[in-house]
């Protein structure tokens, strides 16, 4: 592809035309990306016309440009959010100094690692979800899936832009490696284990986008505070798209809950009509919520302390000035820690070491809000049943609670109790078989699978029965 084509193909606000080095790097990388998409993206839908939103600028209008697009022709762009030219570092040891426009040598490797780890999750989720289209509950939802997929692809572009622009030859190597690792590949897996399991049904998908993508939001939010200005501005723009993915999950799961509630209200057992009983939904919520918390890293983490001290990762909304001490040196964080004697004790750790826990707290508060929203729908239907968010100590495999058994209410329990009860708390094989059996493909415009309620409104003011995806 010629340089001119490349410039036309890649909407950007990073001066791609004048950046010879980036241009050369992208010329090599872009065909590999397309090849990857053709092989490991939602391959079987490459010829479909999908009503997609494409970002072509960072302004208000530019962000929400809708049209029918074949996914391989999607214009994956590179955008940085606007920011003040003379931004100052607003947390950590270098508080008050100028934000970095180039990567400082001493933080280069660490920053690269952060970007690679974040970047690796983006194509990973596309790979995880690649077969989902075959059992979509509606055209509306199929469109949402593809929107999420192409935007995760764009997020990969955003990370690759940073690697290729600021990290030299190593950065280019890392950009290639992100297309070489594959979700679930035994020999060359994705970096984070949670991104190596296939997502094969829509309950998983909505729970994934509700909880795992929300972890992504918080990770991006902490990078959006970064003293490395290009990273901060890139992730700020990504956050706008991420918010859409979260809504897709939150609304999707909400519609499944609502549908089950409606059936129950009418005296129908959801299990009898291919809808999903609330206890199963609860177990899926338990599974994905707890799995997503593991992605935050250890609650007591020296890595997190260093990333904060160096100014690489800030707290959630750090720049809004909501924290009293931007150096985070004064306070301690009180962490609940299980002891070998089977008790929970409070341990005071320096706040900086608790940065993962601080971010996790913000995340949990956000998740609580969503569950409350779902419950309001149940309440409106006059139902007694509710969805609950399990305690943050339940079912953890990373951090201070890993290796201990907790009940969903946060009570420390013994192994025998766990063995006896965990099938009531986490999805069973039977649950999975049942949920899979509900996954009937529905592609008639305006129709929905029986386990999910229609959305309140369509996309971009289009009606719900709009043909969001056209097959050929």
């Amino acid at each position: 592809m010629s340089t001119v084509d490349l410039e036309a193909k890649i909407p950007n606000n990073v001066g791609l035309r004048d950046n010879k080095r980036l241009m050369m790097a992208l010329e090599k990388w872009q065909p590999k990306f397309l090849q990857w998409w053709q092989q490991l993206g939602p391959t079987d839908f490459n010829t479909a016309d999908v009503y997609l939103r494409t970002a072509i600028g960072v302004g208000q209008g530019g962000w929400a440009h809708f049209d029918y697009v074949k996914m391989p022709d999607y214009r994956w762009g590179i955008f940085l959010a606007d920011g003040p030219a003379d931004r100052k570092i607003h947390f950590g040891d270098q508080l008050g100094e100028k934000a970095w426009q180039e990567v400082p040598g001493e933080f280069r490797n660490r920053l690269r690692r952060l970007i690679v780890t974040q970047g690796d999750t983006e194509p990973a989720s596309v790979e995880q979800q690649r077969m989902l289209g075959h059992c979509c509950p509606s055209l509306y939802d199929l469109r949402s899936l593809f929107q999420v997929n192409v935007e995760e692809g764009r997020h990969l572009w955003a990370m690759v832009y940073l690697l290729q622009t600021y990290f030299g030859a190593d950065g280019r190597d890392e950009a290639e490696a992100m297309l070489e690792r594959h979700s679930g590949d035994q020999d060359n897996p994705r970096i984070l284990q949670a991104f190596n399991y296939p997502v094969t049904n829509w309950l998983d998908f909505f729970a994934f986008t509700t909880f795992m993508d929300r972890d992504g939001k918080y990770q991006l939010a902490s990078l959006a505070e970064s003293s490395f200005d290009p990273l901060a501005r890139t992730t700020q723009f990504m956050l706008a798209e991420e918010a859409y993915h979260l809504q897709t999950g939150e609304n999707g799961l909400g519609r499944i809950i609502k549908r089950s509630g409606e059936l129950m209200k009418a005296g129908t057992d959801p299990a009898k009509v291919g809808a999903i009983p609330l206890p199963i939904i609860q177990r899926y919520v338990n599974f994905w919520f707890t799995g997503s918390m593991d992605l935050f890293g250890g609650e007591d983490s020296t890595n997190a302390a260093e990333a904060f001290a160096m100014g690489l990762k800030g707290r959630y909304r750090e720049s809004d000035g909501i924290y009293k001490d931007p150096k985070a040196l004064q306070a301690n964080y009180s962490l609940e820690v299980p002891t070998e004697e089977g008790k929970i004790e409070k341990r005071e750790i320096p706040l900086r070491r608790a940065m993962n826990a601080v971010l996790l707290d913000a995340y949990i508060a956000d998740c609580k809000r969503i569950v409350e929203r779902w419950n309001r729908d149940l309440e409106k239907l006059g139902m007694q049943e509710r969805i609950y968010l399990p305690d943050h100590k339940f079912n953890r495999h990373q951090g201070v609670y890993a290796g201990f058994r907790f009940a969903p209410d946060g009570k420390l329990i013994d192994e025998a109790t766990w063995t006896h009860q965990h099938t009531g708390w986490l999805p069973t094989e039977e649950d999975r078989r049942y949920v899979d059996s509900c996954m009937k493909k529905v592609t008639e415009p305006g129709k929905f699978a029986n386990y999910i309620a229609p959305p309140a409104q369509g996309v971009n003011d289009k009606p719900i029965e709009f043909e969001y995806v056209k097959f050929h």
Partner: protein
Amino acid sequence: MTDFQRHPSSYRHWQLTTDGDVAHLRMNVDAEHPFAPGYELKLNSYDLGVDIELADAIQRLRFEHPNVKVVVVGSAQERAFCAGANIRMLAGSTHPFKVNFCKFTNETRLSLEDASQHSNLKAICAVNAACAGGGYELALACDEIHLVNDNNSAVSLPEVPLLGVLPGTGGLTRLVDKRKVRRDRADVFCTMAEGLRGKKALAWGLVDAIWQKSQFAEKVQTRAKELAATLPNKAPKGITLEPIRFERTDTGYRYRHVSVELEGEGRRATITVTGPQGKQPRTGAEYEQAGSSAWALQCWRELDDALLQLRFDHEQTGLLVLRTRGDRDALLQVEKDLFAHRSHWLCNEILLQMARTLRRWDLMARSMYALVDKDACCAGAFFEQTIGCDRVYVLDHDQVQMAIGPLSSGALPMSHGLTRLQNRFLAQPAQAQKLAAEQPVLSAPEADEQGLATYLLDPIDWDDDVRIALEERVSLSPDALTGMEASLRFGGAETCDSKIFGRLSAWQNWIFTRPNATGDEGALTRYGAPESARFDWRRT
């Protein structure tokens, strides 16, 4: 006191299994059971307790499993091969403990290399996941390093960029001396906290093979079998290493053949080693029969244990006074028999054990004086131990003899590869050669004449001169003495082994005590602390 005795049945941190001629030694550190309270051994990071078990496992392989030809050193944890020495442990340790910890871990890794070189027990390191710092140094001590090629697992030496110290277990030396990694690449590697993965690690010579994750275990096993097939059979069955036990006395502790008396408010320890008593095995088969209670094995295992106790539990003890006791002829007979049967696997192992213990003796960071008095049994390996001391005081008395045995000609080399006679007579190589070849029994004046006595003392002066010598020595600066002794003890050229210890004492220890590492704002102190390190930028 520290217990250095372990048994595979009660390992907390390792799993040792054997399958024909291949053994698997898998690291599976129990994070909740560190050697001392105050830190967690996450990600297969290690401390003294972990390394004592490793040392034990290597000993067991040598003595109890002579049928094993290849040991695969791996990890039972999926997420980490080994993260190296535990940083919190190091940061919270005293300087003497840190140095002794590093020295012990070095000796353990050298024993792995010694087994490869002299016992036909080869080691393959199966790096199944992240391998950092001391983890990679353990790998470097193996004959081959196999790394999983999963785009994620790296080998690294992050000490300089992360902690402001040096790798403490021979990593730098082995990189360029053993693996002959090009120096500029080594420079890049050692300043890159995250290390290198897969193909690049292979291209730079940091590892010997890379395998895809799905094939990793199988490929390593195949290679182990293949390597084992090239090595000779030693014996189907080994002996059992019984635990070494000591009893406390009012003034010290006593083993069967070794005793330690602490004197002068603990500033001085007299170590008495006693030669063989009663009937000793004469052939390999008889040694197999006798097991670990034969003097030639037990005495040196006891001395080994005693030296470790002194290092870790008697930091105040600055001067070791060596006394030898027993029957010279009986001792020499044992050595002659061992030497004659050195092609027998067990005789070979016993000689190697003696050699290692004597090297541990050479490496004591304490002043060492030998007293050759009228009850002395200064013969054979005890003679070696005597001239391994910084000074040799010989009583001018008819009963005093010094006898050189068959092992002085090369069976008990120092860590820089010389015999103790060669090391003593650097200016007269012919003299070293002559004494080793003739194996003379020398009277006190003859020993003096031959250059084996520092002082030949008249009986009327003995008590007083010895007392004054000991008192004078313990009055000098312990730091200066440590450096001086380490410099003077090892003359001539260096080897990889001696460099490892030399760099450890000269550079690593110095860097460890500098403010840039362990000051209030030093990198090691601040590692994992909320604030970053601040350096004093001046260089010498």
